[in-house]
Assembly symmetry: C4
């Protein structure tokens, strides 16, 4: 697969990420105005829906970060192998799946069944981060895929971040057996915390 085809694969992947990230809002349901009982306010009903907002925010920042990482790998590659295309297909499959466990968490957090909902949610991110590691390791073992051979060290130096992903998400997954809402909060933290030091830098 030559450079032009890689470009098209990247554009297609970008479109899938953009659509998946924008569809998430459809999971926050608008309470019917007839359902507002006397003495109850809309504000209270919205606050009661906090798991929807929490799941929306967590999935949004997670998919945005997947997009950033996806781009970081693609910008080093000049061509793709057939296996690379298949792994990328698996990644897109998992990303388009994200709105479903997000909606499950929104519906079940605080209700019976929340453990199952959260385990499927964090499990999806374990699968996504593992697929990313596959994508990275396939690229790093096939230097002929690189745009510039000198990028090989750049790629190798990022091994840490791609290897830690599945490990940290798996720990998050395990936390779900104990405290479901904490597990979702850890998913959000995994994405946001590494950004904090960057806010001070000016590049």
């Amino acid at each position: 697969m030559a450079s032009q085809q890689m470009n098209r694969l990247e554009l297609f992947s970008d479109a899938v990420f953009a659509i998946a990230i924008t569809l998430l809002i459809l999971d926050i349901k608008v309470p019917k105005h007839e359902a507002l009982r006397p003495g109850q306010t809309l504000l209270r009903m919205l606050l009661y829906q906090w798991p929807s907002f929490f799941a929306f925010a967590t999935s949004f920042v997670s998919i945005l970060m997947i997009w950033v990482n996806h781009h970081a790998i693609f910008k080093l590659l000049g061509r793709g192998s057939h296996r690379f295309v298949l792994i990328n297909g698996l990644l897109l499959f998992l990303v388009t799946f994200v709105p479903f466990p997000t909606a499950l968490v929104a519906e079940y957090l605080g209700h019976p069944g929340e453990k199952t909902a959260v385990l499927l949610y964090t499990g999806t991110f374990v699968a996504i981060s593992s697929t990313f590691y596959l994508l990275w390791s396939h690229a790093s073992r096939n230097p002929r895929l690189l745009k510039h051979p000198t990028d090989h060290s750049a790629l190798s130096s990022t091994q840490g971040s791609y290897l830690w992903g599945p490990i940290l998400y798996f720990a998050t997954f395990l936390a779900g057996f104990w405290q479901p809402w904490l597990s979702v909060a850890l998913c959000l933290g995994l994405v946001l915390i590494p950004q904090l030091p960057q806010l001070k830098k000016n590049d």
Copy 2:
């Protein structure tokens, strides 16, 4: 972040804007034909749904204008800092959120809870216009991000429009405490009125 990456960030942002603007129509619900009582016409039912059409139109023109302003900033920039990417991510987060308060306004205008719905709606636009000001001020304080250093004066000259945005939207937000529907109408006016003189010009 080099020029090519900025291009990809702009394309991704554009896709998110395009999807968010097109999803808005899903908030206008089609009344079931079985719900039509004898003597009631579909026209009357549709007229009764005016808040849906009003909220749809207001959100559409607002997101379109966000897209135009977003482009106006990006076309001056040759590269982006990490912080710029994060502010842009916050902007996309708020834009994908817009369909939810839009649906709230469509459901609650004219019913108990309309104040909360409208305050969340206009509050979202206060947040969006403030994020725009952040984006603008970050770009204008970092001339090395500019494509051409001479664009710095072009960027500075637009400070007014980016600074007035949050102020006017905040006034609109305050109006919502007093008269909710007027507050939404002001949101629409804030976008449409500045376009009127442009219609006479021929460029």
Copy 3:
């Protein structure tokens, strides 16, 4: 607005067309399996839903044709005026609106209220074809917007097709007062019939 900006405006418009055309399928509702009464078959229920399929097909081919015509205008233009951008925004507004009257026709054809549904549907296409005429006439009156001045005659020669659009759609609209389903069929015919002779040609 220079050539690069026109490119971005065209890409944004294309994305809106692509999303609107793909969202149409969401209007064909899947009957719940519990709703299947004994002795009733799914096939019969689907056949009963023919207005949904009819409205889906009509809106699909109409939006596809709008996309083709939109491209035909844009490929002649090297730059856009502010007014051109506003007319294009109005066109996008109307195109994103199409799924709503489509869903109305799907719900009301064959039921009380079908006349209103169909008039709103065909009325939307009257508005779209009129906006197209505006777009065309603005471009043809401003030769400085053209990529090549010699394209002016190419643009003028297409006046017929852009002028006939609103006229034929208005006749279709009027037919809706008399026979609603025929009016939708005419909308479909207006797009498909001009394609038939092209099928014989080999270019």
Copy 4:
């Protein structure tokens, strides 16, 4: 239609594929938490929904493969005829339709009406693979559409895969009369099995 227009047609088609593939997840319904009866677990309810996951996965990989094949044809073409554009339009029409039979299969597999649902599903893929054959044969009979005349043999050599598509999907369609779920499994197998040997190769 010149090269630049073909590019735009390909981008538009890509966007439609990307949206259709991402909308599929909306067909997996989240069971309401109130519907969970005492003693029933969410896990059991999700397992009960297996036809939704099965149909989602099958449609996802099928559309992804349609995208790959679509690209394989387009990369050989330098220009398109009017008829080519129409056949491509028919292909897009069928692809945007896929979410509907997918939702039907998700709702009816294991219930009365499953045969009709599956026949419509596999019938859609018979139509898509036949349209692909039309696209291929039109391109191969019009060498002037090719980017490089030497690509003609490359195009001819792929006849097998485009001819076998409709034949195998038709066999799958016939299997649906006998065993509906097997028919959907065959659809999935038709896409996945040819990928298996590719996993061993390293290109």
